[in-house]
Subunit: 154 residues, 2 copies
Amino acid sequence: METQDHPAVFRHVLGDCRWDGVACQAYKEEGAAPFKAVSRQVLFSQPELAAELRYFEVAAGGWSTLERHAHVHAVMVLRGHGSCLVGCVVRDIRRHDLISVPPMTWHQFRAAADQPLGFLCLVNADRDRPQLPDADDLADLCTDPGIAAFLAQN
Amino acid sequence: METQDHPAVFRHVLGDCRWDGVACQAYKEEGAAPFKAVSRQVLFSQPELAAELRYFEVAAGGWSTLERHAHVHAVMVLRGHGSCLVGCVVRDIRRHDLISVPPMTWHQFRAAADQPLGFLCLVNADRDRPQLPDADDLADLCTDPGIAAFLAQN
């Protein structure tokens, strides 16, 4: 049953959000975009499925890339807690919270200082590449003191 | 931000796998197919997303419909434990295990006797309707003693 097209039917969790037969990968190519201490595991990706389900884990004190794109993200926190920026809103997030990132909306996920933040992220299989903010975008975002404080936690 | 097309950006978990702004629905129309003690919550479903993420919860001792269809299921257990049949294999499943149901493959999920089984199920937004087994299909399945025992737990 396990071929390139068909994943194994059963993949047991190994503990702490690692899965049998699922590679724990680098979040992005080093240097491609700013981020800190993030891993990526692709849980479901197959030709019959129009979407992919990935698990990202941001280590304590780490953060995902601040980016935007036309495709949407549908996120569920699976482990730990932290905070996230979506558009002009910063929120604390914890296990099983749901976050929907609309098209072309700046977003970033940050783990708490004391524990990791792990989340599922559902995306269309066919999707555009993320855009990074330029200096003007960052200046616009930072006119909001809450967003400026969120982005300054490095 | 919350419209019919765009879900709320943040939906906090309320505890025990219920979410703010997410209706807890009947699994299927009563009488449409055999099942016992299953609820359904649609966590993500929107025009920009080619798939839907649903959360099903089978109460202790309950079971989902035995069915098959051309679309695939990508499942992650979120709460509790139980067992499932996929094709000709029965497995115990527990929190964070992954289950991939291939096209046209008989499948059923059963909660343990002492606790619920809650799982995420990812499907294509555009999908076919499930088929139920007829007497010949059931007889074929039950030639395997393990499957017969699994199906007999009512």
